[in-house]
Amino acid sequence: MKRQLKIFVITALCLALAITLSFIGCKKEEAAEGGMQVKTYTNAADITIGFSVWTMEFTFFQNLEKGVKDACADLGFKYVMIDQNSDATKMVQDMNALVGQKVSGMVVTPVDPGAIGPAVENARNNGIPVVCADIGKSGPVNALLISNNFKGGELAAEFLDSKIADKTKQLAVGNCLPQWTYARQRGEGFLSKAMELGYPVGANIIVQNPSAEGGYDTMQQILSAVPDVSGVFFVSGREAVGAAQAIQAAGKDIWTVGYNGDPEEFQAIKDGILDATILQEPYFIGYRSVEILKEILMDGKFYENVEVPVDVKLVTPENLDQIAADILEKTGNSAFPAQ
């Protein structure tokens, strides 16, 4: 037993020494490296784009993935996709796996934007430029393509103003969790425009459970807090549909606007349950992300922490069919839920 203890203590000391030396060495190495070096290509066929996507469960991400895939096909790049399955740990593992595959550039739609920092750093240390397609980022990336969320919120407020046209009426917001920094801008845009137009906002409640059920619950809270509310804006699509159903169940007549342009929202607008939504363009975001990587990898263009805003549109019963037809033509996916 004494001999075993001796061996154990010596091994532990050796390991501690090795770790200390390695930790000190690691710090020095990082300090010396500085910015990232990108390898440029002349032949498109030599380029492989890796795409790590939040989930393929929702149409929004399916359209985004189609944009990335189509752009790779059009530009002659090879394409690899890994599904994060809505798991932040798997996202980091997958991004590191893409580095191991020696992809030329990476597009990421992160399930947890706060958790991509070390994985992006690893990719960029290996000379792989990273573009975030929607959601957000933490730490430096080459580019982030994100919908103009502030403008989307403003559009929602303007729509409610056009329908209510009485500045004494109360408005309310079903907001998102604080960590969704970029999605929060939807609420900020709405509040700013509502204030500018002179509307009181009686409730601004966070949807704690991001789902249709969460939207339903939050709408009930809004109805309790502001019983005479005339218009509500929910900053995400499924939540807005849930809220619209809560309004219907309560037998109230309240103007409701959602955000995203999810198939459930399109159907709800068609059915007269939801009044409008702000449409994001996931296909364009995916396509443009690859174009930016092409500019970095083939044209030598410099991108460092560049935020690229993507335009949003208001969808109402009047333009619903036209926009649905455009989406079908562009993505091959119906804007409505599969029957």
Binding site: Q4, F8, L15, A18, I19, L21, S22, F23, G25, C26, K27, E29, T55, M56, V80, M81, I82, D83, N85, D87, A88, T89, K90, V92, Q93, D94, N96, A97, V99, G100, Q101, K102, V111, D112, G114, A115, I116, G117, P118, A119, N122, S138, G139, L177, P178, Q179, Q208
Partner: protein, 326 residues
């Protein structure tokens, strides 16, 4: 005589299968992915997977101890999240090193608390840890107001992302140390024998002078210790501690690894090596299917089927050893 020989042969095969069955499954699975997907067989990918396996693998050590005593803990996912947000939020005040130590100590304390409730209040482990699953997660939300804690401390980040001499990911080394210490504890110390005795027959263990409650409290505390280490690794991998997203389904991944590794849910019988190999199987299977571009829904089907297959092979071992029916 023939009957005796055939029983002997069966037993020998049973012993062989018990020792090498799971590693064999891992090797076959590894070979299939390596042949079909060139990028899978790179050293980088191997080390990356091994590093990520540590997140489940280290907690599986503690869960093996707990399950060996005939209990289990389903609160560890929430515990992982709570201790990560607490420890990482302390960094600005007490530095990264002290933050890591406090994370592990708080996790031990939470494990100890679970153990006390199970043994002293006589509440079944399932009910206790189910309740704690909600309590820990809610405390993490309350403490952070559901805002993630970002981690920039180099020491903390090194634990999940550092490489020893620029080659071996640090979590692999940490996992090796944890398994080494756990092996010594289980197989070379009286405590290990007490754990096995309590799991095999707690009444007989009590009658032979073992303090059963103390052993149960100890294994829950040890589970806390290993969850604390996993928590630091995971939050370092992510560069943040997110109260809502961290540790989701973690308990199922860990319990799956332990059961797949051959530890009996009824207690008494368990294998640290089995838990380790099972953690590797789960991690490499996910990675291999991802690299093969298998649709995520089919990945879930395949993972489930592989697990059922591996557990049924484990039953085969007991059948061959004459310890059960197949």
């Amino acid at each position: 005589m023939d009957d005796y020989r055939s029983r002997k042969t069966k037993q020998k095969f049973g012993v062989f299968w018990g020792n090498f069955g799971l590693p064999l499954i891992f090797i076959i699975m590894f070979a299939i992915f390596a042949i079909s997907t060139p990028s899978f067989r790179s050293t980088y990918n191997f080390l990356n997977n091994l590093s990520f396996a540590s997140y489940v693998g280290i907690a599986a050590i503690g869960m093996t101890f707990v399950i060996m005593t005939g209990n289990f803990d389903i609160s560890i996912g929430s515990m992982l999240s709570l201790v990560a947000v607490l420890g990482s939020s302390f960094i600005p005040k007490i530095t990264g090193v002290a933050g890591v130590v406090s994370t592990v100590l708080i996790a031990c304390l939470l494990g100890f608390l679970n153990g006390i409730i199970v043994t002293k209040l006589r509440i079944p482990a399932f009910i206790t840890t189910l309740g704690m699953l909600f309590v820990f997660r809610a405390l993490a939300y309350i403490y952070t107001n559901n805002v993630p804690v970002y981690i920039s401390d180099r020491f903390w980040l090194y634990i999940g992302n550092g490489k020893l001499f620029g080659v071996i990911p640090f979590p692999i080394l940490l996992m090796g140390i944890c398994y080494g210490v756990a092996y010594l504890l289980l197989r070379r110390s009286p405590v290990g024998r007490y754990i096995i005795a309590v799991g095999t027959n707690s009444r007989a263990a009590a009658l032979s002078g073992i303090n059963v409650d103390n052993i149960k409290i100890l294994v829950f505390t040890l589970l806390g210790l290993f969850v604390g280490i996993s928590s630091v690794i995971n939050s370092a991998n992510l560069g943040s501690a997110n109260p809502g997203l961290m540790g989701q389904d973690f308990e199922f991944q860990v319990i799956t690894a332990v059961v797949l590794g051959g530890t009996a849910l009824s207690g008494g019988n368990g294998s640290l090596g089995g838990s380790f190999i099972a953690a590797l199987i789960v991690t490499f299977l996910n990675n291999g299917m991802g690299l093969m571009q298998v649709n995520s829904y089919w990945q879930m089907v395949a993972t489930g089927l592989v697990m059922i297959f591996a557990v049924s092979l484990n039953k085969l071992k007991f059948f061959l050893l004459g310890q059960g029916e197949f």
